[in-house]
């Protein structure tokens, strides 16, 4: 018999809507199965837990072949906002919450939410700049210690 997964630690490195949602769905789904979960936000992924930015996450309309929008069209002013509204509408219909509410829900489920020290140093962010659900800003070494004994997923 295969061993069940007992813990996952998910690294979120991208700051686009399509870069953030999959990680949130996986973390939330892990908790729903009784699996311990940690989310570690690094580089542009920090936008998802930034007070200033977490309500303004946009889908990438350029350099995103999966969207099937021509690059020049995707680059038109207003396109990221328009495509984001459209996707948010579709997500809402499936009862998938907006990113800020989703992260709050995941924190309430008992998952650990962390910011990356090196990225916070790079962007000049402190804990005051991050949402309340972030437990701490931690180093990569501390992340590995938290992740010990479980699976690590990089997104």
């Amino acid at each position: 018999m295969t061993t069940a997964i007992a813990k996952v630690s998910i690294v979120v490195s991208k700051g686009s809507l399509e870069g953030i949602y999959p990680a949130l769905i996986m973390a939330n789904g892990a908790r729903a199965e009784g699996i311990e979960a940690n989310l570690f936000f690094t580089f542009f992924g920090l936008d998802a837990v930034s007070r200033k930015r977490h309500e303004h996450i946009k889908v990438a309309t350029v350099g995103n072949p999966g969207l099937h929008v021509a690059t020049l069209v995707g680059a038109l002013p207003g396109m990221p906002g328009l495509m984001t509204s459209y996707l948010e509408h579709k997500l809402g219909k499936l009862d998938i919450p907006p990113i800020p509410e989703f992260i709050e829900m995941i924190a309430d489920s008992g998952a650990g939410i962390y910011g990356c020290q090196a990225s916070c140093d790079l962007f000049g962010l402190t804990e005051d700049d991050l949402i309340d659900q972030v437990k701490a800003i931690i180093t990569v070494g501390e992340f590995y210690a938290l992740a010990a004994g479980g699976q690590i997923i990089f997104t």
Binding site: R31, A32, G34, L94, P97, M105, S109, G110
Partner: protein, 105 residues
Amino acid sequence: MPIATYAGHDVIVNDEGFFADPYQWTEEMAPYIAKAIGIDELTLRHWQIIRFMRDQYRAKGTGPTVRILGKTSGVSIKELYQLFPSGPAKTAAKIAGIPKPRGCI
């Protein structure tokens, strides 16, 4: 499929331990199912969720996910995880004798 015995009654369960036939379930079985999966005592709050699961299953043919439980059961997500640490929707469905709710949220 495996047979489990709760409160002196044999019931058919699937490989994950969920009831194959929700109509084999009775309330007196619930504390025994709970104990078998690590919940020693069912409080009134547990029962509120168990009955909610049964009602939802009866009405919709499927149990609610954690997201729906948090929005409609009157118990917050935080408390749901305190009541059912191994996953509220999944554990409550098992204790309530209904199939495991499917859904990604």
